[in-house]
Every structure is written in structure tokens, then in C-alpha cells.
Assembly symmetry: C2
Homo-oligomer: 189 residues x 2
């Protein structure tokens, strides 16, 4: 997931670790924080795999100000051709991880770079997933009184409300996507 996010973000511009982390935080908020303890090792891994390369180009005087540093701070990374390719593959490969809480959020944050058809698949897969959760919680909450711990039931009540709300939210998004797709088609014809 972090790999996906890094590759996605580097499409915008070359960046160093700290910046990546901030951008990520802005996009995902508390949904997914990604600590430095995973960020830097992942960067290393991507570097070794050749998916990103160090952008070290002895200063093209272009925004020189940022890197006043002393002896080698700031390591700026940019996407390699292989990295671009890999990101495209990951976009196309819509697995179950794209439907769970964290994976879905990360995927959605990159929807602007995601083909409409794949956006649709993810949105609908997510909806199915949340509907299942909702049904489970529904029956748990309905199976009232008897046996279930009171606090557990409260927990399930909140979960149920969240699920219901998210399904509605997804329905709106899906409707919007469909409307826009139709407009695109009408525009072409």
C-alpha cells in the first residue's frame, strides 16, 4: 500500500521522504498515517528495485534555496520508467485489498489517475464489502437484549451507522460516476 502511494505521489513531482509523508498525511488524514519507520525502508526497497531513482543532478539551479543543506541531507527521488509501469499495473490489479478500509482509502486518493472503468470496479467492490459488514452488524444489533454484552452492542451500533452512511455515500459517488460516463459517451457520439 505504501509502495502504491509513493509511486502515485511521485507522478506529480520528484520529492524527498519528508515531503512524501506530509502529502500523504494531507490526502489520507488520520485514515492512514504511514510512519517514517515504514517510509524510509520502503523508499530503499523501491530504489533497489529500480522503481524510483535518486534525483541528484548537482543542482539545476532550479529552486536551489530548498537544499541549502550541509553535507548531504535531503535525498530527492523521482519515478523511473519501471516505476510508472508498476504503478499502472497496480492500478489495474484490483484485488480484495482495494476494498478494505485502508486499501480503499489509498486507492481512492489516486482516483484522478485511475481509469473510469477501474474506479467503478473499486467503488462497487467496496460497496459490496460494506454492505456485508452492515448486514452482519444489523443482525447482531437486532438480536437484541439476550446474551450480548452491552458495550459490545454499542460498538456494533456505531459500526452499523457508519456502514449505512458509507453505503449511501458510495451510492452517490457511483451515481455521479455513471452520469459522467454517460455524458462522456454522449459527447463522443
Amino acid at each position: 500500500m505504501l509502495e502504491f502511494a509513493i509511486l502515485g505521489l511521485l507522478h506529480e513531482a520528484p520529492m524527498h521522504g519528508y515531503e512524501l509523508r506530509k502529502r500523504l498525511f494531507d490526502m489520507l488524514g488520520t485514515l492512514r498515517a504511514f510512519s517514517y519507520g515504514s517510509l524510509y525502508p520502503t523508499l530503499r526497497r523501491l530504489l533497489k528495485a529500480g522503481l524510483i531513482v535518486e534525483d541528484d543532478p548537482s543542482e539545476p539551479d532550479d529552486e536551489r534555496a530548498a537544499r541549502t543543506w550541509g553535507k548531504r541531507g535531503k535525498r530527492v527521488y523521482k519515478l523511473s520508467a519501471e516505476g510508472k509501469e508498476r504503478f499502472a499495473e497496480m492500478l489495474a490489479d484490483v484485488g480484495p485489498q482495494a476494498y478494505d478500509d485502508e486499501g480503499f482509502g489509498v486507492h481512492m486518493a489516486f482516483f484522478s489517475r485511475t481509469p473510469a472503468e477501474i474506479r467503478m470496479r473499486i467503488l462497487e467492490g467496496r460497496r459490496r464489502r460494506v454492505e456485508e459488514r452492515r448486514e452482519g452488524l444489523r443482525s447482531s444489533v437486532a438480536r437484541a437484549g439476550e446474551q450480548i454484552d452491552r458495550y459490545t452492542r454499542e460498538l456494533h451500533r456505531l459500526g452499523l451507522e457508519h456502514s449505512e452512511r458509507e453505503v449511501r455515500w458510495l451510492n452517490e459517488l457511483i451515481a455521479t460516476e455513471q452520469r459522467e460516463q454517460k455524458e462522456r459517451q454522449d459527447g463522443v457520439e
Copy 2:
């Protein structure tokens, strides 16, 4: 967190791994699944630490039916004195992990075994945490139009709604707790 959950569950009765996992799933639902890949190693660790002991007592003919097995399946664990102590310590030690999404859910699932005072601390800490998130998302959503990616904003909108709803839910819980505490005091006096 898993350690906490296992120790908490074993207060009810001795159990084997599979059963622990099912009970856990029933309590936390999709909030926190805990796979076998973490459950069994954790059980081992707790065993080695002496917090749980194997309950191997050559059949007290008490529910014999369940263990028809052949050659040693089913390893039943029960709490040791140290385990009980440890759980009590973990209950009393309310750190930031008790306020985040997953930790809070697990703690709340064991509220029936948690002193009222600590329940209060956790509830209020969680509320503070969620309010912070809410404020962050609020300003992000309000800072409309300009610059922010459309899908990212949708993500933040949903997050905001969830935060608002959870704060309300927490307020109710806290109010209930306070009411009950008052009743307890009145009853005593």
C-alpha cells in the same frame, strides 16, 4: 492489543485458539479481525511468559464430547495468577493506544470488566481524539474548491461525517456513565 484481548477473554473461561478467535470476531466484528498468524504465536509467547497455562487435565469428563480428537489436537489455555495481574495492569495503564480506532474498540469490548473510573478516562480521551480529527477534516472540507483533489475531498467528507457521529455517540455514552455513577453514589449514601 491481541495480548490484552486474549487475557481479557480467558477471564470468562479456559479456551483454545480457535474458540478465542471466534469470540474475538463476534465482539469486534470487522473492526479488528486478528488472524491465526498472530493468534498462535501470541499464545505461545504468553505461555512462555507464564501469563497463561495449558489446561491439560486429562479430562474431567466435563464436556468430553468436544475433544473426541485423536492424537493431541486442541490445546486449551487458562489464565494464570500472573496473567490476571497483567490484565489488571493493562486495564489501568490508559495510554494513547486506548484512543486510536483499533485500541479503543478492543478496550471498549472489555468495559464490563473495567472500573468505571477508567471507562470514563478512555471515553473522554477517545472523544478528544475524535474531536481533533473532526476539526482537521472540517477545515479541510471547508477550504473548498481550490487545489484539493475532488476525490480526496469526498474522502474527507465521509471522514468528517463519521467523526461527528462518533462524537455524538460518545457524548451519549459518557452521559449514561455519569448518570449511573451518580445513581451508584446516591445508592450508597
